[in-house]
Amino acid sequence: MINWLNLVKYFLIKDIKTRYAGSGLGMLWTIMMPVFQILLYWFVFSTVMRVRPHSNAQIPYVFFLLSTYFFWLAISEGISRSGMTIIENAEIVKKVPFPIIILPISITLSSYLQSMVGVIFFILAFTFSGLSHLSMFMIVPVLILQLLFSMGVGMLLAAIIPYMRDLQQIIGYVLQGMFFLSPILYSLETVPENVRGLTYLNPVTLYIESYHKIIFERTLPGLGYWGAMALCSGLFLFLGIKVFKKLNEGFADIL
């Protein structure tokens, strides 16, 4: 077990090192690009289109965006990068005997670790504006559930994509759809009531809405939410491990 952790640690460092190899600004990129993206959304939605995408008037829209955008980034990066991880590491998958499932796990962790820099940035800015509160710590259990969900999906895709490489092309669009159909840019209350139920079909909505509740409404999400999140995370994790174990043995034949 200790060795597993060790291996995860090395893959994590390896991933981060490769990512920032030769870049001057290093980790700063992980914040700068998303922040630029957020400023863009902010400008388009509240200045150009002048919509009121969220109901809570006391909270500036930019904070609303910042609060969940980095969590979303962790999901989307984790999923899309996990999908490629087996193909990218074909050399060692074929030649070195080790538990391959560590690859999607460590790639997911790496994506989360890097997005957390953004989350800390948000918390600092939020605190600086005097808006933060102690109960915000409740985002931690939600984050853990979200991480398990990502890992499950990551393993699932990591296992399947080597067999169906064109799936990788679709994933980008699916992720984009999930982004717009979850309450990251807008709050759930602004969605017309007759279609609001549909947004719950997107599992990401559960986690995002929980963050909103904890951060802005200072309330815990209801039991139904917790139950649904636990179910969703557990289900995907179980499915991911099962499918990965099953498809694992075929990697050497197709890589």
Partner: protein
């Protein structure tokens, strides 16, 4: 499995499935339909290796050697059959394949260790040993991408050996790095053998196989063609190879059958030069030859051709004034008071038929060097006389 057995393989087969598209493999896993062509690489092998034994594996390309080694190194799963191993396996199969270019040498040592399941506390103990064995100096603290390919394999070899395996899998890894390191790595492998570890050794060099292995398995088309002492098996294999070669050239030259079979049965086993490798002009150079013939009824003659290193043919000498030879013989050729002046030379020894038309077998000697002792350039002495 009993305690003194290191590796036991029971009915092990490996069938490679050849898929046209990766998705066909997925269809098979889920729908159990057949969408592939098969290639049988190993066909029901039964192998047992005792602890402390060095087993050689020989065979032609595509005989299944690498597949067998990969199965033992656990990078390949057998299609069917049972593989049991006592102890930790390290392989010199794909040297350095787990390494990462952005990590420093030191980081890669730890990384590789944990890939193989060795705790980092344990690696800490061994890291100094790896560093001193690899002899790459300061570079050990720089990222791997700055390494030359020689340094890369040095480090890879050192790490693979430092994990102190109970079973070592070696595939032609003796040609690691420069001559100095080759010697060092061969010695290291020998010392592992002396420590009583189990070694699986695969090579095309019959010399090394003979030198290192207690027992040898000859693989042919995924089956064991022969199994036995190193000497027996390598000899049978060499004979088979020669026969095959002879049969091939017989086909191309459309020789009559008699010669073709004769050609395959006479072999030069060994050629020894004395003195060696430095011969002084005026020394007596002796070329000892060990000739083995399977068929005592075939007559043959021997020829030697002396070449300069650039393949300039200096002289050809045959046993034309002697009766044809029969059977296995040890003969020697002497150049009394050698009249070569300076340069590097070698000889080609040829076994031929009585008419010196067909070459049955051919072997080149090692290079020998005659040091320069005269100020007059040239490489050969011939009698001369000035009239002034």
């Amino acid at each position: 499995m009993s305690e003194d057995i290191a590796i036991s393989m029971k009915d092990v087969s490996k069938v490679y499935r050849l898929y046209q598209k990766p998705i066909d493999r997925l269809k098979e896993i889920f729908f159990r339909t057949r969408c592939h062509n098969e290639f049988v690489a190993l066909d029901g092998l039964n192998i047992r290796v005792k602890k402390g034994e060095t087993l050689g594996i020989i065979g032609e390309n595509g005989a299944g050697k690498s597949t067998l080694l990969k199965i033992i190194a656990k990078t390949l799963k057998p299609t069917s059959g049972e593989v049991n191993m006592n102890g930790m396996v390290s392989s010199l199969l794909e040297l350095g394949s787990g390494f990462h270019p952005e990590f420093t040498g030191i980081d890669n040592i730890y990384f590789y260790g944990s890939l193989l399941g060795i705790p980092s506390s344990e690696m800490k103990r061994r890291v100094q040993e790896v560093v001193s064995f690899a002899e790459i100096g300061e570079h050990i603290n720089y990222p791997l991408k700055t390494y030359s390919s020689g340094m890369h394999v040095r480090l890879a070899f050192s790490v693979a050996m430092a994990v102190e395996p109970d079973i070592l899998v070696v595939d032609e890894a003796l040609s690691v790095g420069d001559l100095y390191f080759q010697k060092k790595s061969t010695d290291k492998i020998l010392s592992v053998k002396e420590k009583g570890k189990t070694i699986l050794f695969c090579s095309h060099s019959m010399y090394y196989v003979n030198r290192l292995c207690d027992r040898v398995i000859w693989l042919k088309n995924g089956l064991i063609a022969m199994e036995g002492s190193a000497h027996e098996v390598t000899q049978a294999y060499e004979t088979y190879q020669l026969k095959k070669e002879a049969a091939k050239s017989a086909e191309t030259l459309e020789r009559d059958e008699g010669t073709a079979s004769a050609a395959s049965s006479i072999v030069i086993r060994d050629v020894v030069l004395t003195p060696f490798p430095n011969v002084r002009s005026g020394d007596d150079l002796t070329v000892g030859m060990e000739i083995m013939s399977m068929d005592d009824s075939v007559p043959y003659r021997v020829a030697a051709v002396l070449f300069r290193i650039d393949e300039l043919r200096i002289i050809s000498i045959g046993t034309k004034d002697h009766d044809p030879l029969y059977g296995s013989r040890n003969i020697s050729l002497c150049f009394p008071a050698l009249q070569l002046k300076e340069g590097t030379f070698f000889l080609n020894i040829l076994i031929m038929d009585e008419q010196f038309v067909h070459v049955y077998n051919k072997k080149a000697t090692s290079y020998f060097t005659v040091p320069k002792e005269s100020i007059e350039p040239g490489f050969i002495n011939i009698p001369y006389r000035w009239t002034i």
